[in-house]
C-alpha cells in the first residue's frame, strides 16, 4: 500500500495515462532517444561509475596501475584465507578431468557438455546447486532467430550498447551461437514462450533494434536453471556435485598451468585439495559487494570470488572499472528494496515517469544511460518520489501494459512480479511500481578468448565472471545467452584439453608471492578474500562475538 502522501503523484500518473497510451500505440518512440552526445553527458554527470572516488589505482597484480572500481580494488588487495604451507598437495582429496567452480548456469552448461566430450567433472559450489544469479533472471534471453534479424544485427546492437568496447570475436561467438542455444535448451526441455504457430514469442529489451527477447513467462532463469540442474543430476557417473563447498584458491603446477583448487567446507570449516587437468571458473558476479552502498539484485553468494582467485594466479582482468546498475530496482516497500523489476516490463510498454506523471526519458535506452537518467531526474531535477525510509524513486507505469495488451496480460506474463508486490498490498495491474537503480551486473571480468581460455594454461572462464563480451555495458538478455554460449564452449574446450594435459608438481607458491607483493606495497592485512558471503549481522551483535577474530565474513 502506498502511503497517503504519494496519492497526489499517483493521481497524476493516472491522469496522463490515456495520452501516453495513444503515444505508445502510435508506434513512434514515446520520448526522443538520446544522441551520442546526450548519452555521454548524462553518463559522466550522473552514472555512479563517474563519481570521483568510484575508481582507484590497483597497487598489485597483473592489472597493477590500472583504475578499477574501488570496492573491486579493495577486494583484490586482500590477503589469502589459507596458509599455503599447511597443505599436502601431493595427496589430493579429489581428482578429476575438469573442475568447475560455481554451480550456476555457466557451470552446469559446462558440466553437461564436458560429459558429452567424455570428461569427468566436479562442480564445486558455494551454496546449493543453482543458488545463483542464473536462477533469478526474469526478462529473457536474446537470440537472433527471426528472418529480419540476422545475428549480425544482434552483433551491432550488442557492440553499440557496450559503447564499442566489446571484444569483437567474443560478440560474434555469442550472437552466432544464439539460435543453436535456443534449440539446445528446448531439446533439454526448456519451455519458451511461443506464438500459436510455434514461432518463438519475442519482445524488445533496452538497446535492441529488433524484437529478439525470448522468455519463459517471467521465470526465464528459473526454468532454464532447473532444467540444466536436472540434466546435471542425470549424469552422476560423469559429474560430481559438491555443495556448500566453495573454492578459495587455485592451484598451479610448476610450469604455471592451472592444476586444481583448494575447497573450503562452509559448514565444517575444513579445507580440501582438488587436482584437475583443467579448471573452469563460473563463479558469476559481485553484487553482494554492495558497491557504493547500493542495494543489489544479486543472489547471496555473488561476491566476485572468481576474480580474486584468478588474479592471484596471474590472470588478467578486463573492464573492471565498470559496474552495471539496473535502472529498475524496487524502491518501495523497504522489504524488497533493490529487488529486480525486470526490463521486460519496459519491453512490454511500461513507462518510467516522474512525480508529475511525465515521461522524461526513452524507456529503452541502454541500461547505464537509463539509470543515469533516473538518477538525474531524482537528484538534479528533484522530480523523484521520496519513500518513508528516505529513498527516492520514479514511477514505472505497469497498468499501462494492461491497457495496451489487454486485461490479464500482467498476471499471465509477470506472475513473479505480481506476487512480489501483492504481498504488500500493491496491485501492479492498477498501480505503478516505484523504482530506482540497483547494483546488478559485473560488466567486466577475467579476460578470455572465444574458447574461454585465459592467459593461464588450463584455466577457463565462462559467464558473468568473464570480461570482454559486453564491453562496458551489457544489454538485457545477453547474459543468459552469454552463460549458455560460453558455458558450453568452456565445457567443450576444457574437456578436449584435459585429454592430453600433463600436470607437473602442484604448488600454491603464487599465493605466497601475492601476499608478499601486498606486504611490499604496504597494504594492511585487515581483509581476506574471497569474501564468500556478505555480512548482514548487526554491529551490536558483532561487538559481542568475542570468541574468534573475524576478518572476512567467515572465520
Amino acid at each position: 500500500m502506498y502511503p497517503e502522501y504519494m496519492h497526489e503523484s499517483l493521481k497524476k500518473v493516472e491522469q496522463s495515462r490515456n495520452k501516453r497510451l495513444e503515444l505508445e500505440k502510435s508506434g513512434e518512440p514515446v520520448f526522443p532517444p538520446m544522441t551520442a552526445e546526450e548519452r555521454e553527458d548524462v553518463l559522466t554527470k550522473f552514472h555512479p561509475d563517474y563519481k570521483p572516488d568510484a575508481r582507484r589505482k590497483i597497487k598489485v597484480g597483473p592489472n597493477k596501475g590500472e583504475e578499477l572500481t574501488t570496492e573491486v580494488a579493495d577486494m583484490l588487495e586482500a590477503y589469502s584465507r589459507v596458509m599455503p604451507g599447511l597443505f599436502d598437495l601431493d595427496d589430493p582429496d579429489y581428482e578429476t578431468d575438469v573442475l568447475i567452480i560455481g554451480g550456476g548456469g555457466a557451470g552446469c552448461a559446462a558440466a553437461i557438455i564436458a560429459a558429452e566430450h567424455g570428461a569427468k567433472s566436479i562442480i564445486s559450489t558455494k551454496l546449493r546447486l543453482g543458488d545463483a544469479n542464473s536462477m533469478m533472471s526474469q526478462g529473457g534471453m536474446q537470440a537472433a532467430g527471426k528472418q529480419h534479424d540476422p545475428p549480425t544485427r544482434h552483433y551491432l546492437d550488442a557492440i553499440g550498447g557496450g559503447h564499442f568496447d566489446n571484444v569483437p570475436k567474443l560478440v560474434r561467438a555469442m550472437t552466432e551461437d544464439g539460435p543453436d542455444v535456443v534449440k539446445w535448451l528446448e531439446d533439454l526441455g526448456v519451455i519458451w514462450d511461443k506464438n500459436e504457430d510455434g514461432s518463438v514469442h519475442v519482445l524488445h529489451g533496452g538497446g535492441t533494434s529488433r524484437k529478439r527477447m525470448l522468455s519463459c513467462r517471467d521465470y526465464t532463469g528459473a526454468i532454464i536453471m532447473r532444467t540444466l540442474m536436472d540434466e546435471v543430476r542425470n549424469h552422476p557417473e560423469k559429474i560430481e556435485v559438491i555443495e556448500f563447498m566453495p573454492t578459495v584458491e587455485l592451484i598451479l603446477d610448476g610450469k604455471g598451468k592451472c592444476a586444481g583448487c583448494i575447497l573450503y567446507d562452509l559448514e565444517t570449516e575444513e579445507y580440501y585439495v582438488a587436482k584437475a587437468k583443467a579448471t573452469i571458473i563460473a563463479t558469476g558476479g559481485y553484487g553482494r559487494l554492495h558497491i557504493r552502498g547500493f542495494d543489489t539484485t544479486n543472489h547471496y553468494g555473488a561476491t566476485g570470488d572468481g576474480l580474486i582467485m584468478a588474479y592471484r594466479a596471474g590472470a588478467k582482468l578486463m573492464y573492471m572499472d565498470s559496474v552495471q546498475y539496473h535502472p529498475t530496482g524496487s524502491a518501495f516497500p523497504e522489504q524488497i528494496a533493490g529487488f529486480l523489476i525486470t526490463e521486460k516490463i519496459r519491453g512490454a510498454g511500461g513507462q518510467p515517469l516522474n512525480k508529475h506523471g511525465e515521461l522524461f526519458v526513452f524507456p529503452r535506452e541502454p541500461r547505464d544511460v537509463e539509470s543515469a537518467a533516473f538518477i538525474r531526474e531524482c537528484v538534479e531535477k528533484h522530480n523523484g518520489i521520496e519513500t518513508p525510509s528516505g529513498r527516492t524513486g520514479v514511477w514505472l507505469d505497469s497498468p499501462l501494459i494492461e491497457k495496451l495488451r489487454g486485461d490479464g496480460y500482467l498476471n499471465k506474463n509477470f506472475p513473479a512480479m505480481h506476487r512480489q508486490f501483492i504481498k504488500y498490498g500493491i496491485d501492479i495491474t492498477v498501480e505503478p511500481m516505484l523504482v530506482y537503480p540497483s547494483l546488478h551486473y559485473q560488466n567486466g571480468g577475467i579476460a578470455i578468448n572465444e574458447k574461454c581460455e585465459t592467459n593461464i594454461k588450463g584455466l577457463y572462464v565462462a559467464g558473468e565472471a568473464s570480461g570482454g563480451v559486453h564491453g562496458r555495458n551489457r544489454l538485457m538478455g545477453n547474459s543468459v545467452l552469454d552463460y549458455n554460449v560460453f558455458g558450453r564452449r568452456a565445457g567443450e574446450y576444457a574437456a578436449e584439453y584435459a585429454k592430453s594435459a600433463k600436470l607437473g608438481t602442484l604448488t600454491l607458491s603464487h599465493v605466497d608471492d601475492y601476499d608478499k607483493e601486498l606486504k611490499q606495497a604496504k597494504i594492511k592485512a585487515d581483509k581476506v578474500a574471497p569474501v564468500l558471503l556478505p555480512l548482514y549481522t548487526p554491529e551490536a551483535v558483532r561487538e559481542r562475538q568475542l570468541t574468534a577474530r573475524y576478518e572476512g565474513t567467515l572465520r
Binding site: D180, S199, Y219, R233, Q335, F339, A416, T537, V541
Partner: protein
C-alpha cells in the same frame, strides 16, 4: 521455550540514509528461542537481525530459488503455516523454523528416451498414484500453486496441465515435507515441464532455418566486415540503424 521477557533487544542496524524514528519491535521464536526484531522485517531479515550468519536457508533472497522454506505457527492457532523466509513478513509471537533441506527422491533418467505420456510418471514416480487428494501440498505452497491439481493431472497424463500449474514452482520442498503419500511434487512438476518443452511445445521453424544458415557460415562475410570496420563508421552504422 524462552519467554518474551528474555528476548534480547538488538539495536537497529545503522542506516546511513536517514535518522529513523524508534523502530517498532516484535518477538519471534527462532527454533524455539525468543528474539526481538523489527516489526516490518522479513523472516530472513529477522534471522540476520537476531545475529545468525545464514549459511543454509538463503539463496536468491528474492523469491526465486526456494532455499528458504520456513514453517511457522502463531499462538492460539492450530494451523501450520509455510512461507519463504525472504519474502514473508514476521508476525508478533510467531514461532518458526527453516527447512532448508528435505530428503527427496530424484530418479536418474535419459530425457531423450522418455515418452510424454502417463507411463513415464508410472515408471519414474509411481508414488504419484498414492495421492489421497488431501490438498495439504497446495496449502503448504508459498507460491499459492494448485499443487494437488497438478499431481492429479500427472495421474491423468495431462502433461500440459502439469506444466502450466507447476510453472512457477520454486522447488522449496514444503509440499513434499507435508505430503502423507510421500510424493515429491516439485520433481514431478519439473519432469513434466521438461517433457513439455522437449516433446509437446510446437517447434520453431524459423529458428531451425537460422541454425542451418549459421552452419553454412552464411553470415561470415557480414561479420568480417563489421569486425574490421573503423570505429567511426561502426558508430554511424549503429546510430543510423532502423528500429523494429
Amino acid at each position: 521455550m524462552a519467554t518474551k521477557a528474555e528476548a534480547k533487544k538488538k539495536p537497529a542496524k545503522t542506516k546511513a540514509k536517514t535518522e529513523k524514528p524508534e523502530e517498532k519491535l516484535v518477538t519471534v521464536y527462532i527454533m524455539g528461542k525468543a528474539h526481538q526484531v523489527p516489526a516490518d522485517a522479513t523472516i530472513m531479515g529477522a534471522i540476520e537481525y537476531a545475529g545468525y550468519q545464514i549459511k543454509r536457508g538463503a539463496g536468491c533472497r528474492e523469491g526465486f530459488c526456494g532455499a528458504c522454506g520456513t514453517v511457522y505457527r502463531v499462538p492460539g492457532d492450530y494451523k501450520i503455516y509455510a512461507g519463504l523466509a525472504c519474502t514473508t513478513l514476521v508476525e508478533d509471537e510467531m514461532y518458526l523454523t527453516q527447512l532448508p533441506s528435505f530428503p527427496a527422491e530424484k530418479p536418474v533418467y535419459n530425457i531423450k528416451k522418455l515418452a510424454p505420456t502417463v507411463s513415464t510418471f508410472q515408471k519414474l514416480y509411481p508414488e504419484v498414484f498414492r495421492c489421497v487428494a488431501c490438498n495439504t501440498c497446495s496449502k503448504a505452497c508459498p507460491q499459492d500453486l494448485e499443487v494437488m491439481d497438478y499431481i492429479q493431472a500427472a495421474m491423468r497424463g495431462d502433461i500440459e496441465q502439469v506444466m502450466d500449474l507447476s510453472f512457477d514452482c520454486l522447488c522449496c520442498g514444503l509440499c513434499a515435507a507435508r505430503c502423507p503419500a510421500e510424493i515429491v511434487q516439485y520433481n514431478v512438476g519439473l519432469l513434466a515441464k521438461r517433457l513439455y518443452g522437449k516433446y509437446l511445445s510446437p517447434e520453431s521453424k524459423e529458428v531451425n532455418k537460422r541454425i542451418k544458415e549459421v552452419d553454412k557460415n552464411a553470415f561470415d562475410k557480414e561479420y568480417k566486415e563489421l569486425m574490421r570496420m573503423a570505429e567511426d563508421k561502426l558508430k554511424k552504422k549503429y546510430y543510423d540503424r532502423d528500429m523494429e
